[in-house]
């Protein structure tokens, strides 16, 4: 290990934050860029499955809450792109990677939202799993990312409660509403568990990320925590988790549960989810159709600054 690398690791071990202009190993920078931009892309693509129900939200109040949520998510995307930019990559480069398929976004957004209960389930399960992943990131070694996470986690836990509230209202409603909720749980349960990624045994990245304090818990630890938190909530809602192996294990003080269908997981990652083509297509189209808009703003800014220069030259 080179001396500067050793010094870097010692600072991390001492719990110090790394800041943008400081020296860092290329692998650290690359890992962070990959992870933060993937996270940012997920926020942006994540607007689509929820946006799908804004125009059909069942009350004005629910519509307002969903609009606010989607707005927050776009805001999270913004912080995260900014955090990634401190590592020397531009937002346009990151978009380019998303649009070309080089960069990923969370696979969960390749599932369709098929009923209003899905909006609740996304808040409860998907945001719930995201928070589980993100809470430790508030203590991540990279300063800008850790600070972005503080703000994001606060809003996400608000979203999670709102999602749960949608479902809590629906299960007290008509039989059709309750069936919608159960159906949403049936469809979103396993994909949510898969959000933590495969077992760490399978991952080479994980050990290094742990050492760098980019990652602080194993995928399996977080998944266990998620199940332990979520299973009783499902119970409270009067729902059945679609896992026959789920049961309380008093000895380990947590739930035993079944293995997700990783074949499906890798299929969706590979682009074969029901919505992959539509999600990426929508983002590409938004970008391409918006080229004239962005060019217009740039041209105006140039004109305006030329005019200011002219004016100040004339004034001298």
């Amino acid at each position: 290990m080179a001396p500067e690398e050793r010094a870097f690791q010692e600072r991390i071990d001492a719990g110090q934050k790394i800041e943008p202009k400081e020296w860092m190993p290329e692998g650290y920078r690359k890992t962070l860029v990959r992870q933060i931009s993937q996270h940012a892309h997920s926020e942006i693509v994540g607007q689509l499955p929820e946006g799908n129900w804004i125009t059909r939200a069942p009350t004005l109040e629910r519509k307002a809450i969903l609009l606010a949520k989607v707005q927050d998510e776009a805001g999270h995307g913004l912080y995260l792109y900014c955090a990634a930019e401190t590592l020397g990559i531009s937002r346009d480069e990151m978009y380019e990677q998303l649009h070309s398929g080089k960069a990923k976004y969370s696979s969960i957004f390749n599932y369709p939202t098929l009923s209003w209960a899905d909006i609740g389930a996304i808040g409860w399960l998907v945001d719930g799993a995201a928070i589980m992943n993100q809470v430790p990131l508030q203590r991540c070694s990279y300063g800008p990312y850790a600070r972005a996470m503080v703000r994001i986690c606060k809003e996400e836990s608000f979203h999670q409660r709102q999602g749960f509230d949608i479902l809590a209202k629906m299960v007290k409603g008509t039989p059709a509403q309750k069936a919608m909720v159960q159906d949403a749980l049936d469809r979103w349960w396993w994909p949510s568990l898969m959000m933590f990624g495969p077992s760490d045994d399978a991952s080479i990245h994980s050990a290094q990320s742990m050492a760098w304090k980019i990652k602080q818990n194993s995928n399996d630890e977080l998944r266990q925590k998620f199940v332990d938190q979520t299973a009783p909530q499902a119970d409270y809602l009067g729902l059945t988790v679609p896992d026959p192996d789920l049961k309380w294990n008093a000895k380990k003080g947590g739930y035993d549960f079944g293995e997700p269908d990783w074949k499906e997981f890798f299929e969706v990652i590979a682009g074969n989810g029901l919505c992959n083509a539509e999600r990426l297509g929508a983002r590409r189209k938004a970008w391409d159709d918006g080229a004239w808009f962005r060019d217009g703003l740039t041209a105006h800014a140039e004109k305006a600054s030329a005019r200011r220069a002219e004016k100040s030259a004339a004034a001298e």
Partner: protein, 261 residues
């Protein structure tokens, strides 16, 4: 017809109800159109701004339609009015239901509406009906920000590239015939104006004209001539667009009658 005693003024309840529906329906339908952009805007900042504007408008819808239901006195909530009326009972301006088109057209529609919205809300802050004055007070703060934004974008895109200029001019020309309706008074407006509840629509035109002319001039866009103007929204005669908007907007309430959400 019954009359409602508001402060000092006695105004026709049906006229007041109509007026509140119009104001609420404008906000609801425009918010719907803006929501259609979610995740599809040309820049992330625009996604955020659109969601924010739509959110403000939905908040205003709740207040205006809530008050409308109260004035009507038949026990209808804001949600009932938003979700359980068919197209002929909607009172929004035709402008608000125009399809989004490209982002420039959406912004031009927004600017033309915001300028009017800003002027009318300012006037309503002095309404003799304190409930209206209070809602207008809150809403006008939000709308003054909407106007600042849409004016700014119209200017930047109008005075941007040749292409952005051409798109904005086309948007303006297409939408212009839908602006006249904002200033058309129905008979019910006279009574409301006399009672100091709401301004006569035509009284807002000079200020709107000035706001629009200033921005268009900075944007290097040509104000179209005032030719034929479409109208009908205030009497529930809409374009064919509204039916599709409502089919989507009202689906859950219609498909699951009586359910609470």
């Amino acid at each position: 017809m019954t009359t409602a005693i508001i402060g000092e003024a006695a105004v026709d309840r049906a006229a007041l109800f109509e007026f509140l529906l119009r104001t609420g329906d404008n906000a609801l339908i425009l918010a719907h159109r803006l929501s259609e952009w979610c995740g599809h805007a040309p820049a992330l900042e625009e996604d955020i701004a659109l969601a924010n504007t739509a959110l403000d408008l939905i908040g205003q819808t709740q207040l205006w339609l809530g008050l409308a239901g109260e004035v009507e006195g038949g026990g209808r909530s804001a949600d009932d009015l938003a979700y359980l009326r068919d197209a002929r009972e909607f009172r929004n301006l035709l402008l608000t239901e125009r399809p989004n088109g490209d982002y420039g057209k959406t912004m031009m529609r927004q600017f033309l509406f915001d300028a009017w919205h800003y002027v009318i809300l300012n006037a309503l802050r002095a309404s003799s009906d304190v409930r209206i004055a209070e809602i207008a007070e809150k809403a006008s703060k939000e709308v003054s920000y909407h106007l600042e934004r849409s004016r700014d974008l119209v200017i930047r895109l109008g005075d941007g590239t040749a292409e952005s200029h051409a798109r904005m001019q086309e948007a303006l020309d297409d939408l212009w015939p839908y602006t006249g309706e904002m200033f058309v008074g129905e008979t019910s407006d006279e009574a409301l104006a006399a009672a100091g509840v709401a301004p006569e629509p035509q009284s807002l035109k000079a200020e709107w004209d000035a706001l629009v002319a200033e921005a268009l001039s900075v944007a290097t866009l040509k104000r179209p001539a005032d030719g034929h103007m479409h109208k009908g929204g205030k009497r529930g005669i809409h374009t064919e667009q509204l039916g599709y908007i409502l089919a989507e907007l009202q689906f859950l309430q219609r498909a699951y009658p009586g359910a609470t959400w």
